[in-house]
C-alpha cells in the first residue's frame, strides 16, 4: 500500500516494521511527530521523558534489556543527551539502539543551527542520513540491523525539510523481534576505567569495520550521467535540491553513511571528474573528509557558505550561474512575525513585567515570543533551563540591587526538563531570585505534548502529576504562590511583592493554553466605539485580535476568545 507520509511519520512506520518495542523522547521541532506517530502503534511502548538525557538513557536501558529501542530529539536535544551518548558508544548495544536527531538549517524553530554530525564524529557513533520519506522508513529499519551487526548505537540524522515533507511511502508488514537474552556482562556495560579502556580499542576497531561496510553499503549510491561534466557529492535533503537543480548535468555520489564515511568509494568517484562539488548544509563535514583522504579537486564551502538552508535555486545560481525571474509586489510588504495567540495566558505576565521594567531572563517555548514588540519584555534566551540558572549568576554578579529588579520566566515543561536543577542552585547557593513558572498545563510550542505536570502520558492516559508547588518547596524555596495571569492586578501585585522580599521565591502563573481543546472560552468581546477614546491602552498588550480602525480599537471576532485582559486595561469601559 502506498501512502503520502511526513518524513517523521514514515520514520515511525520504520520503527514499527523493524519490531521496535520501546521509544522514549522529548519533543522538539522538527522531530516531535516521530514519537507521536510511534505512540499510535500499540506494539510499541512510547513515552515523553522529562528531557532528552532521560529519554536516551531509557532507550539505552531497554536496549541492554534486549529490546529494539529508540529515542528522538531535535539537534539541541542531542547536546542534553550527549553525556550518555559518548559512553554508550563504548558499551554498544544488546537490542538495536537507534537515535533520531533532527537538525534545523535555517532555524525555522530553533535557537541555533548547529550541525549534529559533529556529535556522531566526536562520540564515534555510526550516523546515517535519509533524503525523503521512503528513505526515512528504510533507513530506520536498516539502522536497527546495523546497530546489532556492529554493536553500536546508530544516529539517524534528519532535517526540517526531510522531517516535515510528505512523500510517497510503500508500507510493509511488521517483523516481530523477540527480546534478546540479557546476560550480565560488566566488561561491556560497566564503564569504569579498567573496563572502558578495552572498549575504546573496540570502538576504534568498529569504526574501521563500519568504514569497510560503507564502501559497498546500499545506503550510498553512485548515479552516473553520460552528459556530466562534473560530479556532486551530497546527502539528505540537499541531494534532492541538487538533483532538481542539476539533473543530468552532473553525476552524483549520494551519501547515506555520514559517520564514518567511505574512503575508496569517494576517491574513485572523484577520479572520474576534474571538478567535484561537495554540496552540504551547515558545516564542511564531507568536504573536510575529502581533504583528509586526499581528494582535493572539491569545491564546497567557498561558494555555498556555512549559514542557512540550501535550495535548488542556490545550487543552480552557484554552479550554473542561472538567475531566476519573478515579479515583485510594488511596495514594501510588512513582516508577519509569530505572535502569542489571542487569549494566551503568558500575555498578562509579560505585560506586567514590561510595565514594571523588570529584567527578564527567558527560556525556550512559546513564551520566548514575549521578547517581541510591543511587550519586548525578555532580556535573554539561551537554552532549555538557562532562565533560572543564568538569573542566579546575574544576581550573584550584580548583587542586591539586581535581585529586586530581575526575574526568570520558564514554562512548565521546560521547568521539568532542566529548570529544577537551576532552582536548587538558587536555594542552595542563595540568591534572592524570583522565578515565574508559566504553567499552561501543556508543552505548547511543539504542538501540545503532555509532560510530567499535566497528569496525562503520551497516549493520553491518566498519569502521576508533579505538584509544582510541593516540588518547589521540596527544592528549598519557602515562598511559592500561584496567580491567575488573566488577572493583571493580582499578577502585578505578586511580582512586586516577590521582588521586594529578601528570599528566593517562585510565582506559578497558572492558566491552560488557550488553544487546548478542553478550554472553554467566553464569547468574543466587542468595543463600544462611542466610549472608545482611541487611547491605545489595550494595544499595549500586543493581542493579535485588537487593531485600530479610524482611531478606534476594534476586536476581530474570529480570533478573540474573551480572556478579558483588554477589559482590565480599558479605563473607559469601552470593551464589552
Amino acid at each position: 500500500m502506498k501512502k503520502l507520509m511526513l518524513g517523521n511519520e514514515a520514520f515511525a512506520r520504520g520503527l514499527y516494521e523493524a519490531g521496535c518495542t520501546v521509544a522514549s523522547s522529548y519533543p522538539g521541532t522538527p522531530s516531535t511527530e516521530i514519537t507521536e506517530f510511534t505512540a499510535k502503534y500499540d506494539e510499541i511502548y512510547a513515552e515523553w521523558a522529562p528531557n532528552e538525557k532521560v529519554a536516551v538513557e531509557t532507550a539505552i536501558g531497554a536496549s541492554i534489556a534486549g529490546a529494539r529501542s529508540f529515542s528522538a530529539m531535535k539537534h539541541v536535544g542531542l547536546n542534553v543527551a550527549s553525556d550518555p551518548l559518548y559512553t554508550i558508544s563504548y558499551s554498544g548495544v544488546n537490542g538495536g539502539l537507534v537515535i533520531a536527531v533532527a537538525d534545523d538549517p535555517g532555524m525555522h524553530s530553533s535557537q541555533n543551527e548547529q550541525d549534529s554530525r559533529h556529535h556522531a564524529i566526536a562520540s564515534k557513533v555510526m550516523m546515517i542520513e535519509p533524503s525523503n520519506s521512503a528513505e526515512c522508513k528504510e533507513f530506520a529499519k536498516t539502522a536497527f540491523e546495523l546497530s546489532e551487526k556492529f554493536d553500536t548505537p546508530v544516529i539517524v540524522r534528519l532535517s526540517t525539510r526531510v522531517s516535515h515533507s510528505q512523500s510517497i511511502v510503500e508500507l510493509c508488514e511488521r517483523e516481530e523481534r523477540p527480546l534478546k537474552e540479557y546476560i550480565k556482562n560488566p566488561q561491556k556495560y560497566v564503564m569504569m576505567p579498567a573496563f572502558a579502556r578495552p572498549r575504546h580499542i573496540f570502538v576504534e576497531e568498529r569504526l574501521k569495520n563500519i568504514t569497510e561496510y560503507a564502501e559497498t553499503s546500499p545506503l550510498n549510491r553512485i548515479e552516473i550521467s553520460e552528459n556530466a561534466e562534473f560530479g556532486v557529492i551530497a546527502s539528505g535533503a540537499v541531494y534532492e535540491y541538487a538533483k532538481e537543480a542539476l539533473g543530468d548535468k552532473a553525476s552524483f555520489l549520494k551519501l547515506g553513511t555520514i559517520n564514518p564515511m567511505p574512503v575508496k568509494l569517494i576517491q574513485d568517484f572523484a577520479k572520474k571528474y576534474d571538478k567535484i562539488y561537495v554540496i552540504e548544509e551547515l558545516d564542511d563535514i564531507i568536504e573536510t573528509h575529502c581533504h583528509k583522504i586526499g581528494v582535493n579537486n572539491v569545491i564546497g564551502k567557498e561558494i555555498f557558505g556555512f549559514c542557512g538552508e540550501l535550495s535548488q535555486t542556490v545550487i543552480s545560481e552557484k554552479i550554473l550561474n542561472k538567475k531566476s525571474e519573478y515579479a515583485e509586489f510594488s511596495e514594501n510588504v510588512p513582516v508577519r512575525p509569530p505572535v502569542m495567540c489571542a487569549g494566551c495566558p503568558h500575555r498578562g505576565v509579560f505585560y506586567c513585567l514590561s510595565k514594571l521594567k523588570v529584567n527578564v531572563s527567558g527560556d525556550i517555548g512559546c513564551y520566548t515570543l514575549g521578547a517581541s514588540a510591543p511587550l519586548s519584555a525578555i532580556d535573554t534566551t539561551i537554552c532549555m533551563g538557562a532562565s533560572i540558572s543564568a538569573l542566579h549568576g546575574f544576581n550573584k554578579a550584580r548583587g542586591k540591587d539586581a535581585e529586586s529588579k530581575t526575574v526568570a520566566v520558564i514554562g512548565d515543561s521546560t521547568f521539568m526538563h532542566s529548570g529544577m536543577t537551576g532552582l536548587v542552585n538558587i536555594a542552595y547557593n542563595s540568591t534572592n531570585s524570583t522565578v515565574i513558572i508559566l504553567d499552561n498545563s501543556i508543552t505548547g510550542m511543539t504542538g501540545h505534548q503532555q509532560n510530567p505536570t499535566t497528569g496525562k502520558n503520551l497516549k493520553g492516559d491518566p498519569a502521576a502529576a508533579v505538584n509544582l508547588e510541593a516540588l518547589c518547596k521540596a527544592l528549598g524555596i519557602n515562598r511559592v504562590r500561584v496567580v491567575d495571569p488573566y488577572s493583571l492586578a493580582e499578577t502585578e501585585k505578586a511580582i512586586k511583592e516577590e521582588l521586594a522580599v529578601e528570599e528566593p521565591s517562585v510565582i506559578i502563573s497558572r492558566r491552560p493554553c488557550a488553544l487546548l481543546k478542553y478550554v472553554k472560552h467566553k464569547p468574543p468581546l466587542k468595543t463600544d466605539s462611542e466610549k472608545c477614546k482611541g487611547c491605545k491602552m489595550c494595544m499595549k498588550l500586543g493581542c493579535p485580535a485588537i487593531s485600530m480602525k479610524d482611531g478606534k480599537a476594534v476586536i476581530d471576532h474570529t480570533q478573540c476568545v474573551g480572556c478579558g485582559i483588554c477589559q482590565e486595561m480599558c479605563r473607559f469601559d469601552a470593551i464589552l
Binding site: L4, S330, N332, P334
Partner: protein, 191 residues
C-alpha cells in the same frame, strides 16, 4: 510531464495543513509522484506560513523557490503580496479577501498596504479573489475558509470533482464532513 508547483500561503492557525493534506491526497490518487512540505513550530503561532505542494512524474526538491509556482493559494491578502515573487510567469493567484493585521501594523510601526488586489492585477498577474471567510461562515464556520479555497482551486486543476470529494472524506472527521462538503461546493460555485 514537468513538475507542477502549488503554494498554499496564509497566517499560522488558518488551516493550511488540512488544505495541503487534501490536495496531496487528490494528487496521490491521480498516480503522481507528490511532495508536500510544511513548516511546523514557531511560525504556526500567527506568523506567515507557507506549504509547498509539488507533483509530476518524479519530484525531487520538496520546496518551491521564487519564480517557480504554477498556482499560489493565499488565505490572506497581505500574504498574497508577500509571496507574489514565487509565482511563475503566467501563473495563477487565488486569494481570499480576508485581511489580518500583522503585529507591526497593530503596533502602528507600519501600515497595511491598500488595494492589494488592484496592485497585483496591475503587475499583470492572473488573480481570482474570493471572500472565502463569508462563504465559510455561510457553510457553518469561519474555520472552513481553507476548504472553500480548495473548492476554488479544484476548478483550476482539471480533475473530476469526485476525486476531491473522496479526499475530503479521507481527511475530514465524520462529524465535520457535511459542513466541509458545503464549503467546498461554495468554493467551486464562486471560482
Amino acid at each position: 510531464m514537468d513538475t507542477k508547483s502549488v503554494m498554499i500561503v496564509g497566517v499560522g492557525g488558518q488551516g493550511s495543513l488540512l488544505a495541503s493534506r487534501l490536495l496531496g491526497n487528490v494528487l496521490l490518487s491521480q498516480g503522481f509522484d507528490v511532495k508536500v512540505s510544511e513548516v511546523h513550530g514557531m511560525s504556526q503561532r500567527g506568523g506567515s506560513v507557507v506549504t509547498y505542494v509539488k507533483y509530476g512524474e518524479k519530484v525531487y526538491s520538496p520546496i518551491i523557490e521564487k519564480g517557480e509556482a504554477d498556482i499560489i493559494i493565499s488565505f490572506e491578502e497581505l500574504e498574497s503580496a508577500r509571496w507574489i515573487p514565487y509565482l511563475k510567469k503566467g501563473g495563477h493567484l487565488i486569494t481570499s479577501t480576508q485581511k489580518i493585521d500583522p503585529m507591526p501594523v497593530i503596533t502602528g510601526a507600519v501600515k497595511y498596504p491598500e488595494n492589494i488586489t488592484e496592485k497585483i492585477k496591475q503587475a499583470g498577474i492572473d488573480i481570482i479573489s474570493v471572500d472565502a471567510l463569508s462563504l465559510a461562515e455561510q457553510a457553518g464556520t469561519s474555520k472552513a475558509s481553507n476548504v472553500v479555497l480548495m473548492g476554488v482551486l479544484s476548478t483550476k486543476m482539471g480533475f473530476d470533482e469526485s476525486v476531491w470529494q473522496n479526499a475530503i472524506e479521507q481527511c475530514v472527521p465524520e462529524k465535520f464532513l457535511e459542513l466541509n462538503k458545503k464549503a467546498f461546493a461554495l468554493g467551486v460555485q464562486n471560482a
